[in-house]
């Protein structure tokens, strides 16, 4: 190769903007946040002291943290399971429909590009107990006697929050599955047809196994996104009623910006990061193991 010496300076110049942004906005705050988790810092006051592992001890004894963790895992799992089912189903549907399918794929994809503020608001408007459409229809069909606002009823709030959560995250899953389905070579299907395989046999024996690595990849990405997601729950319920939908992100946000306990909030966020990292590493190990099996 030519220009090795000159290349070094160019490399640095080319990498500098990206590297600077990532180091100052991601890496430095990350380290800073972990350091603050060992302090008793209160809001922006600069006099604080290191308290060792005290914050982490508090986490262990905090029942609200445990509740938020369980809620987060619950919301993440429900969303991912429904996303995968709906995303895969719609991918099969649009892929089998030729050029009309391409058009509908765009229509089905639109919720993904909508802002969380609008999604949360649109669903709150649908759920509204005075003038909302869902209550109107349910009353009209005599399914309920009194109008209800599902967001303030602890037995209804979970489906009410899962529906929008799935609604604006399934499109990505659909898109990736649609591309993966297309990458299965048609000759494999033709061979199966010649061998006299039925449609359901083809589906279970060819299509599904070919989706294995896509499925793992999509699931890992979704765990990263959903576990840390904040907007929808914060905008729709703020964790209520009575903490029944409180997720880790929302609890940490409240601790930092409403109760101003920065040290404790950072400790919880660090714990959350560690949990997420362990889960993702486990997923990768399973993924690599599965690859070797094949």
């Amino acid at each position: 190769m030519f220009g090795v010496k000159r290349a070094n300076l160019t490399v640095w110049l080319f990498l500098l903007p990206a590297l600077a942004a990532v180091v100052f906005i991601l890496l430095y705050p990350m380290v800073d946040g972990i350091v603050m988790s060992f302090t008793n810092r209160f809001f922006s006051y600069d006099n604080y002291s290191f308290v060792g592992l005290q914050n982490y001890q508090l986490i262990k004894e905090d029942p609200v943290f445990r509740r938020a963790l369980v809620n987060t895992v619950r919301l993440t799992s429900y969303t991912i399971i429904l996303n995968t089912a709906i995303g895969f189903g719609l991918a099969c549907l649009v892929n089998s429909a030729g050029s009309a399918g391409k058009f509908f794929r765009i229509l089905y994809f639109v919720p993904w590009i909508l802002p969380s503020t609008v999604v949360a608001f649109a669903f709150r408007w649908l759920y509204n107990d005075s003038y909302g459409y869902i209550n109107y229809l349910l009353l009209k069909w005599h399914l309920i006697a009194q109008p209800v606002n599902p967001l303030v009823r602890s037995e209804l709030v979970w489906p009410a929050i899962i529906i929008p959560s799935v609604w604006f995250s399934y499109p990505f899953v659909m898109l990736v599955f649609a591309a993966a389905l297309k990458s299965i070579h048609p000759s494999i299907y033709e061979a199966a047809q010649i061998d006299g395989a039925s449609r359901s046999q083809t589906f279970w024996k060819i299509t599904l196994p070919a989706m294995k690595s896509t499925f793992m990849m999509v699931t890992i990405l979704q765990i990263i996104w959903e576990f840390a997601s904040f907007d929808l729950v914060y905008l729709m319920t703020r964790g209520g009623p009575a903490n029944s939908t409180l997720t880790l992100s929302v609890y940490i946000y409240k601790m930092a910006f409403e109760y101003k306990k920065i040290g404790y909030a950072c400790a919880m966020a660090t714990a959350m990061f560690v949990i997420l990292a362990v889960v993702i590493i486990l997923c990768f190990i399973i993924y690599k193991y599965g690859e070797k099996e094949r």
């Binding site: 490399v11 991601l26 802002p115």
Partner: protein, 275 residues
């Protein structure tokens, strides 16, 4: 692509699914054209009696919604242009300028994806507070850049790798500097990738809520995501006004998406399938 005619049942199924998925959007859209008096009725119709633009007028004349739109437009366009520049430079050096510790840099750009935003926002808030950057567009642009760049670099790297090496080497033999190679040889053949990164960063910066909510405090510097939320807080039951605000907020991203959807969808799945 074989293009067999599809069965009627499949077509009907797809239309029904599309309608079900679009319910929240359609309801919001039609509500925004209803008169204020028409909202407070016990028998809500889907379509407004008369399409009136009253709500949109109120939004701009009384609520200064144009200020929010302008702030968001500035933040989103600057973010998408800078992220395009920075990520194509970085992706170029990853693909064509082999350097030591390249794997560390590449691994690093993926690991930062795992950092929970809620952990970053607390120190970032304090950092901006100390640097006097709170309530500025600069703070938002910088934050969004850092979140978009790992995705942009990764995406463009995939595109750049699909170009034949000879093309770039030939340009170098002809005496092209690296920046000329990038500008004249690489970028022109990677337009779909550039469009994807640009659209993604524009939409992400336009829609982002949490950081904008924390880093921006004054009404005049609010982005549209925070502005809509503030309107909901102040006019919670004025649904005709709020739905108009929601529609105004999604129109720019919808236009952007419709124009570039072919490249955008292709680009997103390219990144996804190649992992």
């Amino acid at each position: 692509m074989r293009d067999r005619p599809i069965s009627l049942t499949k077509l009907i199924l797809m239309v029904v699914v599309a309608l079900v998925i679009w319910i929240p959007i359609l309801v919001t859209f039609f509500t925004s054209f209803k008169m204020r008096s028409e909202i407070a009725t016990l028998v809500p119709a889907l379509l407004p009696e008369t399409f009136c633009l009253d709500n949109y007028e109120r939004l701009f004349r009384v609520m200064n919604f144009d200020v929010y739109l302008r702030n968001s437009l500035i933040v989103a366009s600057v973010t998408s242009i800078i992220s395009l520049l920075a990520s194509s430079l970085a992706a170029y050096s990853l693909v064509w300028l082999k350097f030591r510790n390249q794997n560390i840099f590449q691994g690093f750009t993926l690991v930062v994806y795992l950092f929970p935003q809620i952990l970053l926002v607390i120190p970032l808030y304090l950092m901006c507070y100390h640097l006097n950057l709170l309530d500025t567009a600069f703070a938002l642009i910088l934050t969004y850049l850092a979140f978009i760049l790992p995705f942009g670099i990764w995406m463009l790297k995939n595109y750049f790798q699909s170009i034949s090496r000879d093309l770039v080497d030939a340009a170098r033999v002809d005496g092209c500097k690296d920046w000329q190679c990038l500008l004249r040889v690489v970028l022109p053949v990677c337009l779909p990738g550039l469009a994807t990164v640009m659209t993604y960063s524009f939409i992400m910066a336009w829609n982002e809520f949490m950081f904008a909510n924390i880093l921006i405090s004054s009404n005049s510097s609010r982005t549209v995501a925070v502005g809509v939320q503030a309107l909901i807080g102040n006019h919670g039951t004025d649904f005709s006004l709020l739905t108009a605000a929601a529609i105004m907020m999604i129109i720019p991203t919808l236009i952007f998406f419709v124009l570039i959807q072919k490249w955008f969808i292709e680009g997103l799945t390219l990144g996804g399938v190649q992992e």
